[in-house]
């Protein structure tokens, strides 16, 4: 290869690289540096270098609770999405091509509407004087409203609604690569429908479930709009905590430190998960 042709890919991808650098890496690096600065109510931010913000977060049970809650919400969302997404993706993959494209549009439709708008919709449904509680009370099934707003359960419910398309698409992509005749083969060998699903379909869908989980977990753990609206100031998750530090307390360095910790812990979970998956399925799938 000549020097010219070797440099061409770099030149061609330069605009995208530059955008990536300016809009992602620079702010990230600045946040990282910010997290080592110190803050006082009267002096504001001083550009020192210390680990005091990290020590503050890691030595306070309050933050552990927030991190714990965030990951519990993300995990619950992931599990529920997988439970809903698997059968739905399976039906999709076995549908007539025409109805499949219609149903894919239905699945993807919600992504066209802003998360904020959809979450406000959930707030209308879930509130103490919301549609669900009103209906249950009018039916005489409950006397006092069930609390759903400002609970982790409410957040999980809305997050599942936001995230489930990603899970369906990931599993559907995996099922597309499987041979439907394997199910017939299992049936001819004497397997019952449930056995076919458990022993033949599920393992072949597994790479999709695992990659879908990766997407859903990381997006849920760092979701902001949904927990902010449905959790309010009462049920805090990491991203809303960061927001509060930045905009209410104005303690930017502490907010930066929490944000860095979230980034690192999500990254660690994703890499670990990926390792596990690769090791488990390396021999089986391309």
């Amino acid at each position: 290869m000549t020097r010219r042709s070797r440099s061409r890919p770099w030149i061609l991808s330069a605009p995208a690289l530059l955008l990536f650098l300016v809009l992602l890496l620079v702010p990230l690096a600045m946040t990282f540096i910010l997290s080592f600065h110190s803050f006082s109510f009267y002096g504001g931010i001083t550009p020192t270098f210390s680990l005091e913000n990290y020590i503050e977060v890691l030595s306070d049970g309050y933050f552990y609770e927030i991190f714990g809650r965030t990951f519990a919400i993300a995990l619950a969302t992931t599990l529920i999405c997988a439970a809903i997404g698997l059968p739905q993706a399976y039906f999709l993959s076995r549908m007539h091509p025409f109805w499949r494209s219609v149903m894919l549009l239905v699945v993807l439709g919600p992504l066209l509407i802003s998360v904020v708008v959809r979450t406000l919709g959930w707030a209308i449904l879930l509130g103490n004087k919301g549609v669900i509680n009103d209906a249950l009370r009018d039916l005489g099934l409950i006397t006092s409203p069930i609390r759903m707003m400002y609970t982790s359960g409410g957040i999980v419910l809305a997050l599942v609604h936001v995230m489930v398309p990603f899970m369906i698409l990931a599993i559907w992509a995996a099922l597309q690569r499987t041979d439907p005749a394997t199910e017939s083969a299992a049936e001819s060998l004497g397997a019952r429908p449930w056995t076919i699903f458990r022993r033949i379909v599920l393992p072949q869908a597994m790479p999709g479930i695992l990659s879908g989980s990766l997407i859903v977990f990381s997006l849920s753990a760092s979701a902001f709009a949904t927990p902010a609206i449905l959790g309010g100031r009462r049920v805090k998750v990491v991203s809303t905590t960061v927001y509060d530090e930045f905009l209410n307390t104005l303690n930017w360095p502490l907010g930066a430190a929490i944000a860095m910790l979230l980034l690192v812990s999500v990254l660690a979970i994703m890499v670990g998960w990926n390792r596990l998956v690769e090791r488990r399925f390396a021999g089986v799938f391309e």
């Binding site: 499987t178 041979d179 005749a181 394997t182 017939s184 083969a185 299992a186 049936e187 001819s188 060998l189 004497g190 397997a191 019952r192 056995t195 022993r199 033949i200 393992p203 072949q204 597994m206 399925f281 021999g283 089986v284 799938f285 391309e286």
Partner: protein, 354 residues
Amino acid sequence: MPFLQLSGLTKRFGDVVAVEDFSLAVEKGEFVSLLGPSGCGKTTTLQMIAGFEQPTSGHIMLNGRHLEEVPARNRGLGIVFQTYALFPHMTVEENVAFGLEMRGIDKKERARKVAGALELVQLAHLAKRYPRAMSGGQRQRVALARALVIEPELLLLDEPLSNLDAKLREEMQLELRRIQQEAGVTTLLVTHDQNEAMALSDRVAVMHHGRLMQQETPFHVYENPKSSFISTFLGKTNSLTATLKTTNDEGSALVCNGMELAGPPAHLRPGPITVSLRPERIEIVEAGEAVVSGPVIERIFLGDQWLFRIETPIGPLLVVRRNRGQREPEHGETVHLAWTPHHLRLLPKEDEAA
């Protein structure tokens, strides 16, 4: 009573008739091929026997019991799919063991049977491999072992060799026949490949437009096709349009393109007919003995044989000659052709629709 009996089997998909009034009897241990072009209903027939499709009407009897109402999983048939349909997440061993596991056979017995089946298909050394790390021919053998290990009453093969390249396909034909005979299992093969059907089976059942056209030994079907469709589908042939003038016990008289020809006795009424003449039955002779003569317009060397196309008064004729290393006619050279009248096959003229 035959081992497998299909009677009046019919399948309609809405207005489309896929299989119509199909009847076939297969004896125990026999190897029968369902041969036909794509869309002739052969796969649908197999699917009905396997239990993946419900017949619209008709009966399927296997070893004295009705199969129509039995779910696929309880029919106990061994099936080799066109795509092999191996379970990609299981090793060869686990694939083969699956059917035994479903039958609740204990681990020790299972291991013994799996080893036996893999021995039969000569894959014992690859038991721990995953399918994706194997070649097409090896996957084919695994599929066969998986179908045979459950000791099925009937083995169904759905185009099993169509995904292999030509050379491997020939090897696998011999292998498939050996395995089938060793296992002694009654086998029904679905294929569109006439060579495969002729090489493997005791009997060939030719299907066309959802109907059974003819079922006999491969030799019989090749030698005495019942229709011009079969004669062109099985092997190469020269199909000529002719008029039958007279016929008696001695022979018949035909007119083809204004030329009078002698033919064998025919059970046909005088009138327009189709004449089939196999290219290997035509000989190149001296000018004096010729039935027809004409120039060579095409000349193809195939290694073990030569293929000629010769322009004659009765139309272009395909001629096949074994390559014995001697000189063969050049392009454009006039050659003289002859054949004995009993090599002509007189067939009813096909309707345009059929």
